[in-house]
Symmetry: D4
Subunit: 222 residues, 8 copies
């Protein structure tokens, strides 16, 4: 019964294959600090750009202790190292959210896009409960080719933004509600059922995915 | 085994006891046309105000054939007879919906309130995809003390209306969406999780309940 | 990659815009004690009425240490400061619940309404398992224009209260059950499907929302 | 490939084995009229008591055309033939429901118990929206050892009846609601989460099961 | 804003009204140790029988420190004091479960029935994966008038027991599975959909309710 | 706007690529009779074995009218044509179900395996409510290397069969229950959570898949 | 009680306001043929481009009888009239699906994009069960800037396509599965949880929305 | 009230009866370290092979402290002791997963099969995002008669592996996703709805069950 040994050599290829425009991202939950330190070390040794997502405080500390050159953002849970800045799109990407509780996901999305070489415009004060402010912010986002809109609860913001701008909107539901919000599932379903047809949706709290999707679109824009 | 006979005499008390301000309403689904005709006959015989809800075309026809004095509304599925007009509130009640598919429920709500003696203001062209129009309509509803807002899909309209007016909003989710809308459950949950705290919600497609609730509030307003 | 700096100036507008009758409330979950202290400071500096909801013991302590003038209620999780008492409605608002486990939500609702300037009548001993007592309490609530009813489990209390009084009832489901209660979702759905048409429902455990909705109605009552 | 022939001889044992006190019931949905006629024929040939449940109009007609001696109840969807009346319990069994739409399930339950030899007391006018009438009916059920309570929507009736009487209550949720009722699932979950501990629940619309369970208890009572 | 004071006097009536045959039970979750100690004190002062359910280790310790005469059962989470033994039924009640993980709920049910004055027969080794043993145990339960069957996972045991004995079975789903078990909901639904019609179901892990329901039936048996 | 023409040539490759041991099956729902006739024609022209699943009466008739050589089974909804009998396994495959309503799915599974060249043993009278018969049937299945067990409702049969035989069991949940069965989802989840570890599950009513999976295993057995 | 008359004049503004790049689409379900004919007439009178979605055979026939110049596609359920061809993007948009049952949604998406002025490349033979063919097709789509991928069941195709191409993928779940597919909800959730971060999702069967979203992106591409 | 003593003697038969080919496994969650130590002691005393599953670090330590001869695997949570190696199948069993987060379940499955006497081939680097590597690995698994495929998120890997190999696949969904993954339920449902008919599924994270099922099949293979 030596299955464990048999497995030994296959543990070495953990990361996803690098592909054009998708970052070498490491999803921290479910990995120990020791595993993350070891994985990060392999990226750094080969001077590959590294992005670790959903990293809690203890793992951020362990990573930076082991690899002092790493950058970290407490609010978004990201840890990263850029050896060579990718070429992003020509236009900036716009990021909006409604309130403070959506901020971590908003930052995860915006920093992911910045990590991938794009310019970002970020506003966190655009809830549908204050529509004039929302309208004002949209004026400042006119130069963007694609927008990422982060919202929890009833998830109305992507619909409103999409209807007012006509731009493609990547909607990110968040898990910040409670009760009938069902951990974000209601927000996800509400966004998917938006009455505006230029909204597409990613997973709950998936700021990283929204940043990547917006980046892929923005690179096509040129 | 004579259970059926035993039951015989208890079938006679079908309707809900009349209470102050709640209409003697009969819910048509699950009852045959013949049962409805017989129930309606008892109301008419005693000259009690009668309201039948969710009545399909065949049942409406059967009721009016049997009782020629009845009124019917094809879009809302209501059938009614008013012997004595109740005293409604002093202010009108406002009713809004986003699009055509929400119209049957909007009408069910507004006609129920009218049946209960209230003046009603009704607008069906207020979707969040056209915000200036929504804002314009809200100006016309300033004199109302309570608003009923009907919406399907992502259900954002009650939140927007409530935030813009500060008035109490009775929200009615509709089953008009598809897929992730889950027959209206997503809309219900999204409305319940509204980021505006002056929204309360009734059952999916329950225009009748919204009309009754708004009526009860409006009577208290005076 | 300076997204974080770019965001810097937009963090300053966290609170929801003050609107007539809706309190400047701060939802504590998902915010750190330090963030809450800073937000509260801005309210106090501008002498704006402040209400913090769902505040656990540690956050309550941190807030009161930093801002000694704040009031706090351990059972309801509220922290508040009133600079100018708002003008509430002419009538008191009635608040009922079934048992001890619903008490925190009942208090959150009643204290919110009191914070908004209303007189409140509160009873926590009205479960459907003891109907005579329920009936007795309802007599004491006759002068109220709107009632808030808090219940968990099968959620029957709002239906019974609404049927016995004919008054508009704001129903608040609680998460106090277990198993088939599904964290309050069953109670929410049962209340939404009430056989009484003068019941409207807010989110699970949302005492704050019920207090605001009752306040908005009570202000319209005059 | 002669699987069909291979199966031939095993089609003959369709019915569930007769056991003490559980009727030889045939569940009609999913069986064709021809299959039901054939199955019923075998019962009649062997002079075994027969009970067919959930039988629609066409199947009832086909069964009675083929076997003129059968009895049928249109409202409850039952078809039956009693060769030898079983010995039921010493006490009657009580059956209650709230309104007309629950009547088919109430009758299915009561007729099943009658078919099994018990005396039944049946009241269909006991909704929680009219509590004095409910209380009055309970007085008439004092001699019963077990009660079957049928209700839809918020499902409060079993809790109220159980609390007022202290008797064991078999609760039957019905599928008569809509929207958040989710075809009866909400009512089922609400009944299972009843705040009264002397309530146990059977499947949605399962009047037959409730009748059998009450029968089994009543036989034990003696 | 003195709502808290206003509430003061109504906190005193926490317990459910004593009714014939339903224990004065206190549900521990959601109450602090201090609250439990105070509630228990009131029972003891008035020499009323006391049963506290779902009590964790810390609360059990606090209760026994404050009130040395209390009994406690670590496995079932019950704490109790009997001043006067109630008169139970003439027959014993049978309790079965499949495996060790269902033991706490099995004991909660059996001890509740014992607390209510009944004799109990308890077997925890009757899973459907070992059918001959199940069959053997059923022989030992022949004198019982009602059975309580506790099971998790696919929840097959109540069906098998009910089919083999023809006795009324109170089924208790447990939350011991994982994944598709959904915290016991799957087991609950499977039991409710049992192919045996003499099974009725209580809430997930609700050993207390099963004990009360079996007690109510057993008292009727005599 | 000539998208339709553009698509023209790609409509020709409808069927799934033939692979070793998986039949060229055509799933009838969602296809018109005309489409099925055309697809079947292409199979027959190339003398490829053809199996059409879930075929209702009208489609079966249309297929046989157009292609007189086709075989059809009304109960299972299968239509087929075997040009060359595949080589099945050395051992027979065993198929069991509980009652008549599970028969269509049982036959779909068994006929699929027969179509793939295997010998089949089929019993439809093995419900857990009659355990001695179940045990007797299992004796007749001793020579089988793999068993397919079809059941609805609480789905206990695969667990019992697997525990009694120790053989690998492919479990097929059916949609024959109602209410809490949720169209088969409860049965699916209960089977997946079986307390026997030698059970694996396919989709609700998926007799075809179970037949293919058993066939693939049986071919490996030799 | 003249609410119906009051409503009269507000029925005239049914359509959503034309916005840059979003078609004047009319959702047919829930509208009668007469309503659709009238709505279409208003578009034609004002020479506005018209697109009607999810149109069944009877409604298509009614529309073309009333307005002979309309085009219709039976498979996709679209009816349309182009007065002025919009200027689409410079690059073609790629559309892929797995099998025949996804074809209606694939065509709805592709024809919507074509209606909006874009060139389209469409392949319906790309299921993950035949990976070499999928890979071959992807070569033919290299010139596209954005891809729409339609799939039912386990919904794996968008993940595979996105991983192989690195292009932004709009994923459309379809309702073609059964059982555990839950009408497409499982496919929707699986796509939202894709392990590829350049996938965003629209509602179940929402080919129209996917076509609009891809169009909005493609217009930004230039 | 001496129920506890009455129960005493029945606690001794905790384990499931040993059956051919199913290990004497002990499921650790819900049992205390002390209980596990005592159960393990009884296995060791009788020199029976022992396998404990889902064992956290503290319980592993307690077991090894009490019984020094035990083996433990930290990643898979297994603890075991083999007195007599069972005779496994002639062929190896293949085990695959997509990424690192599925590794614990993959190892639980493979080690269980090894414990049961089988040779295992294990690869953890086969995600659908890197298809050429997947294809390469499948070549190395050609000698296997049955495959176990472990995956989270959209769960596409079993479908792809099954389609490429034609071998029977036991699919194990994992709970490693978040948001719409719903703790693995989406993955489970997606796998059950696989478009490949030679996939059967076990419970979420149930590596032990997959190992047993594969073992039962492999023993039949010979």
């Amino acid at each position: 019964m030596n299955a464990a040994e048999y497995l030994g050599h296959s543990f070495l290829d953990l990361g996803r294959q690098a592909r054009t425009g998708v970052p070498e991202a490491v999803f921290a939950p479910g990995k120990t600090a020791a595993q993350l330190v070891s994985i990060a070390g392999r990226f750094l040794d080969s001077r590959s750009n590294l992005l670790v997502t959903k990293c809690d405080e203890a793992k951020r500390a362990a990573l930076r202790r082991a690899h002092p050159g790493l950058h970290a953002s407490a609010r978004s849970g990201l840890v990263w190292k850029l050896f060579e800045k990718p070429r992003g799109g020509r236009k900036p990407i716009g990021f909006l959210s409604a309130g403070t509780s959506d901020l971590p996901v908003l930052l995860e999305a915006a920093l992911t896009a910045a990590f991938l070489g794009h310019r970002v415009k970020v506003y966190s004060d655009c809830g549908v409960a204050g529509l004039h402010r929302t309208v004002k912010r949209l004026g400042q986002l006119e130069g963007c080719g694609v927008l990422v809109v982060v919202a929890g609860m009833e998830g109305a913001l992507p619909t409103v933004v999409s209807a007012l701008t006509g731009k493609p909107v990547i909607a990110v539901p968040t898990s910040t509600g409670y009760g009938a919000a069902q951990g974000g599932l209601t927000t996800l379903h509400a966004m998917v059922g938006s009455c505006s047809p230029t909204v597409a949706v990613v997973n709950i709290d998936n700021g990283f995915g929204a940043g990547c999707m917006a980046s892929a679109i923005n690179r096509e824009i040129g």
